[in-house]
């Protein structure tokens, strides 16, 4: 009798685990239709009236980027993730499409996403990885941190929205800075103030002559943003004039 219970129990556990893992690692068959998308977006942004979906960009099996134009003419974007239990779920909704950094799962898989209004004088967008120059003396030991500024240009080419996977070189550099750089581990109060405050990401618009430029806002005062699930997102800021350095 005992044996029967035991084997039934084991079979139940195996069946349960199989169902669990199949569900957990399930791959979505297809993405939502436009109507479903709009319905879902209305749940987070009820004032949504007219909305034109510009494109549906699949980053990978489980992550989708949707740029759109609102009725008032402003360019917005939403992103969706495949949640094992909840199906497709809205991850982020923003009624204006300034660039954002979307970390998809692993730290190395990060995407810049944006949706900017096209403007005659704007040719594209520059993304930046910046670590500020810094110097100090701790004890008798001098420390100098060179400025790191990496740039990646994306030409708009007829569309103001896009997705850019963070270049491998950037990931490498960011990893070096977080693991190998001076001034991190041996500061007694390093948790309280860190001289070497990691890496920042930023962006600037670029005109047809390659000069940095800006346009009067896509940003309106009543922009609305929703950031749903727990993924680590990073707002990246437009850089001011003095925040980008040039060589000679």
């Amino acid at each position: 009798m005992k044996r029967i219970y035991l084997s039934v129990g084991i079979i139940l556990i195996v069946v349960f685990l199989t169902i669990f893992f199949r569900q957990y690692f399930s791959v979505p068959s297809k993405f939502l239709t436009e109507e479903q998308l709009i319905k879902e977006m209305k749940k987070v942004y009820p004032e949504l009236d007219g909305l034109e979906i510009q494109n549906i960009v699949q980053l990978d099996e489980r992550h989708v980027f949707v740029p759109f134009i609102l009725e008032n003419g402003s360019y917005g974007m939403a992103s969706w993730t495949w949640e094992p239990w909840k199906k497709w779920e809205i991850h982020m909704f923003d009624s204006e499409g300034s660039p954002q950094l979307w970390t998809v799962g692993k730290e190395s898989e990060r995407y810049f996403i944006w949706n900017m209004p096209l403007d005659e004088q704007v040719a594209g967008i520059n993304f930046y990885l910046i670590r500020d120059r810094n110097a100090w003396i701790s004890g008798n030991i001098p420390i100098y941190l060179p400025r790191i500024q990496l740039e990646h240009h994306v030409a708009f080419g007829g569309q103001g929205y896009g997705v850019l996977k963070m270049p491998d070189e950037w990931v490498t550099v960011a990893t070096w800075l977080s693991e190998n750089e001076a001034g991190r581990t041996d500061e007694l109060f390093s948790s309280m103030f860190s001289h070497n405050d990691l890496v920042q990401y930023g962006w600037r618009l670029v005109d047809h002559t390659g000069q940095l430029t800006y346009i009067e806002g896509n940003t309106n005062n009543n922009s609305f943003g929703y950031f749903g699930s727990s993924d680590y997102d990073q707002m990246i800021l437009p850089l001011h004039e003095g925040e980008v350095e040039f060589g000679k």
Binding site: P146, R147, E181, D186, E245, F246, G247
Partner: protein, 238 residues
């Protein structure tokens, strides 16, 4: 790409061997035999302690003060006096192991710096596989590193004191002008460098704009070296 700290690992291994030998001695002397897994559990529980931390040379030193594990165990076995008199020694050995660990962690730093001197370039640059330049600032120019020149240069590096703050203010002194033209002193990072085997040291090796200076930056500090030789390809040198 092995960045294992061999000194640290060997010392840890050594501690466990010592502890095992001591446990063996206790075992031999006692008449009642205790099962091996019990001995292990007793020692691990005994290791548990209230401790005070001191900062030391970039790390922390744990000084065990109160044998919490031993106290808890003696409470658990308060009604089994005979067993406890046998178990007690293993529990105390576990607590004592804290001090063996402490001793070796004090030793590890001097041993490490004897084998891998922190202020010598070849600690950080022991092996070079196709060194590649990465431009990390717009003032860097597209240049290639010459492996022969590089090896010649790093064989004769001279450690040099450097004024970090002066370097900083050379560049950052002016009022923000727009656009901001800046020449970074170290606009390159050299990739493809391995530290001395077993050192577990990580570092970033910056190359100076003139191709003759390198700034080695590691979590433990920075060192600046100058060479008479330029490390770029011949054609790249003005």
């Amino acid at each position: 790409v092995v960045d294992v700290d061999v000194v640290e690992w060997s010392l840890t291994l050594l501690v466990w061997i010592i502890v095992a030998l001591l446990a063996w001695r206790i075992y031999k002397k006692q008449e009642e035999s205790v099962k091996a897994w019990k001995i292990v559990l007793l020692m691990v529980a005994g290791l548990f302690s209230f401790s005070v931390n001191f900062p030391n040379d970039g790390g922390m030193i744990r000084l065990a003060v109160l044998p919490l594990g031993v106290m808890i165990l003696s409470f658990v076995f308060r009604k089994k006096k005979e067993s406890w008199s046998v178990y007690r020694k293993y529990a105390w050995l576990g607590f004592f192991a804290n001090y063996i660990f402490l001793a070796t962690s004090l030793l590890s730093s001097p041993i490490h710096s004897a084998i891998y001197p922190a202020d010598q370039a070849d600690t950080y640059i022991a092996e070079v596989n196709e060194p590649a330049l990465r431009i990390i600032h717009p003032s860097g120019e597209v240049k290639a590193i010459n492996e022969q020149n590089f090896e010649k240069a790093i064989s004769k590096l001279v450690k040099t004191d450097f004024p970090s703050l002066d370097w900083y203010y050379e560049v950052e002194k002016f009022e923000p002008t727009e656009p901001k033209y800046v020449v970074e002193k170290f606009p390159y990072v050299i990739d493809g460098i391995e530290p001395k085997w077993g050192s577990g040291i990580r570092s970033i090796v910056y190359l100076e704009k003139d191709g003759k200076g390198i700034l080695i930056s590691s979590p433990k500090g920075q060192y600046y070296f100058r060479s008479e030789h330029v490390m770029f390809e011949e054609g790249d040198v003005e």
